[in-house]
């Protein structure tokens, strides 16, 4: 099992979600987050006072996947989340030791 965390542009979220559903992804957890990588922020001016806003709104997707689906999902996200501009985000993958379904205590990949 692998855990996939993807930070993407909010404007791409709906397309990513639809594409993932088409390749058979049934569950995901989504959070609205703020952050920045190499992308610089922008300036806002309120009555002459300038503020640099460097933490920008992003969407964070989290999902734990059976090994055989990982490549498909990564490809799908790469294809649909990309705008080609700086600030498109990142994907992180990590190994997951165990998954447990709370309702019936099922374990392993069948709990996903």
């Amino acid at each position: 099992m692998m855990k996939l965390e993807a930070i993407i542009q909010p404007s791409r979220f709906e397309s990513v979600k639809d594409a993932l559903r088409e390749v058979g992804i049934e569950g995901m957890t989504v959070t609205e987050v703020r952050g920045h990588g190499r992308q610089k922020g922008h300036t806002e001016v309120y009555r002459g006072r300038e503020y640099t806003v460097d933490l920008l709104p992003k969407i964070k997707l989290e999902m734990v996947l059976p090994d055989k689906l990982v490549n498909t999902v990564v490809d799908t996200i790469l294809k649909t989340a990309k705008t080609g501009k700086i600030g498109d985000g990142k994907i992180f993958l990590s190994r997951v030791d165990e998954a447990i379904r709370i309702r019936n205590e099922e374990r392993g990949e069948s709990a996903l």
């Binding site: 806002e44 001016v45 309120y46 009555r47 002459g48 503020y51």
Partner: protein, 478 residues
């Protein structure tokens, strides 16, 4: 023959009456049409009675129209404080101080209303002293449905009293813009109570009260202030500056970002202020007459031109016209047109508005940064600065044709050739500045000794909603 002519006169007079009197008109007309019923009666007595009745009805009709407009105006001015100003200021603070700043406005709706009824009205509009009124109307004694011919001869005295009350309510609330995010609630209540007695009541009497030495009709320095440029905006704006200087900056100002937490709230607030201002300015005609229409038009054009002025300045400077800039400009224009509304024609109103938009933009963005004071929501930059420029321009642009306040045919402002009126305006401005400066310093010292004025550092960091009122504006878990 004579009777026929009289009948004609009556019919014409009655036709001129308000439609609400149509019901009573029918029997009157029928009795005139059938002379047989009045064969033996004394003709001249009947005519005199009818004339007296007609006179009474005309007065009643005028009073009905004026009173309807003045009651609506009073309600509009109250709407400027809550929700208008409360939303405008509420959106500009950080979220942890939202309820506290709104509560400071709302508290004035309670506190000042009661003080006004007890003695405030009497101190502002009772008696005929040069500086302050007296106690003749304390506890609203003698304030009933009969008009007070000294101020508004066609509406009940009660209407005039409640209308003026709404001005007294909003004025101290304006000051809270400068002290936002760091003023104790107990200190606010004490400060505003003292300020109302020491600054507002005397200034209102000097400028508007009978015998007041700045009163346009008969004062030592006849100062034109149609709806409160001096009494409301200079007084509150200058006091706001004194408070901001005395209190010091908010923790973290100006390094830490403190952007407005919801410009949507501020936007709604500013639009409500704009609408409410029609009651403030056009209502100051104290009647539903041509002067009210003139003030209404000037008010609207002043606000519109100032919104454009501020936006253009921003566009030129930052490359973008912001929503906050546009609404700030509109408020600045409304402030500046306030003293002028009932004295100027529409085109000068545009000039006043445009000047105010540019001038207040300069005050808020440049002058504040230059001196480094923390007038948190720009109460001085908008009300103090806008009120001052508006008062002076009123002297230049006032016209006898709009409002012959000095008597028929006598020149009023600079455009009539009476340029010395600008000097009178300057006298009024200086006296208002002086009273606000001195009065506020004295009141601040007293408040600091009794309740304290500024919250503790911990409270300021945690936010005034929780520390002053024990609640939160946005409770995320519910």
């Amino acid at each position: 023959m004579k009777r026929a002519v009289l009948s004609c006169c009556f019919a014409m007079g009655l036709l001129l009456l308000a439609p609400s009197l149509l019901a009573q008109q029918a029997p009157a007309a029928s009795s005139l049409a059938s002379p047989s019923t009045a064969q033996k009666s004394d003709v001249s007595k009947e005519v005199n009675d009818k004339l007296a009745q007609l006179d009474q009805r005309v007065t009643a009709a005028q009073s009905a129209g004026d009173n309807a407009w003045m009651l609506v105006s009073a309600a509009l001015v109250l709407m400027m404080t809550g929700p208008g100003l409360a939303l405008f200021y509420g959106g500009l603070v950080r979220r942890k101080n939202t309820l506290a700043i709104m509560m400071q406005s709302f508290a004035m709706m309670g506190l000042i209303s009661v003080l006004w009824a007890l003695v405030g009205y009497s101190l502002a509009f009772g008696g005929s002293g040069p500086v302050i009124g007296d106690f003749s109307h304390a506890f609203l004694r003698g304030v009933g449905v009969d008009p007070n011919p000294d101020y508004a001869g066609t509406v009940p005295h009660l209407t005039f009293m409640i209308y003026q009350m709404m001005f007294a309510v909003i004025t101290p609330a304006l000051i809270t813009g400068a002290t936002a995010e760091r003023m104790k609630f107990s200190g606010t209540v004490l400060f505003m109570t003292l300020w109302f007695f020491l600054v507002y009541a005397p200034l209102a009497h000097m400028v508007w009260g009978k015998g007041g030495f700045l009163n346009a009709s008969g004062g030592r320095f006849p100062c034109l202030d149609f709806a409160g440029g001096t009494v409301v905006h200079i007084s509150s704006g200058v006091s706001a500056l004194v408070c901001a200087l005395y209190m010091g900056k908010r923790i973290g100002f100006p390094k830490q970002p403190m952007p407005p937490h919801s410009l949507v709230l501020s936007f709604i607030g500013a639009c409500l202020l704009w609408v409410g201002w029609f009651g403030f300015n056009a209502g100051s005609a104290l009647a539903a007459n041509g002067l009210a229409s003139s003030a209404f038009v000037a008010t609207h054009l002043g606000a519109a031109a100032a919104a454009i002025g501020w936006s253009l300045a921003e566009w030129f400077k930052n490359g973008k016209a912001s929503a906050l800039g546009a609404i700030s400009g509109a408020v600045a224009g409304l402030v500046a047109i306030t003293p002028a509304a009932g004295f100027v024609r529409p085109m000068p109103a545009l000039v006043i508005g445009l000047s105010a938009g540019l001038f207040c933009y300069f005050m808020v963005t440049r002058v504040k940064a230059l001196f480094g004071y923390d007038d948190a929501l720009d109460a001085f930059g908008v009300h103090g600065a806008g009120g001052t420029i508006g008062a002076l321009l009123t002297g230049a642009f006032a016209k006898e044709i709009v409002n012959p306040i000095f008597g028929p045919g006598k020149p009023v402002g600079g455009l009539d050739g009476h340029w010395s009126q600008v000097g009178n305006q300057l006298a009024g401005v200086l006296i208002a500045w002086g009273l606000a400066l001195v009065g506020t310093i004295v009141i601040l010292k007293i408040t600091d000794l009794v309740t304290g004025f500024r919250t503790s550092e911990d409270h300021e960091v945690e936010g005034l909603d929780v520390t002053q009122h024990g609640e939160e504006a946005y409770y995320l878990e519910s």
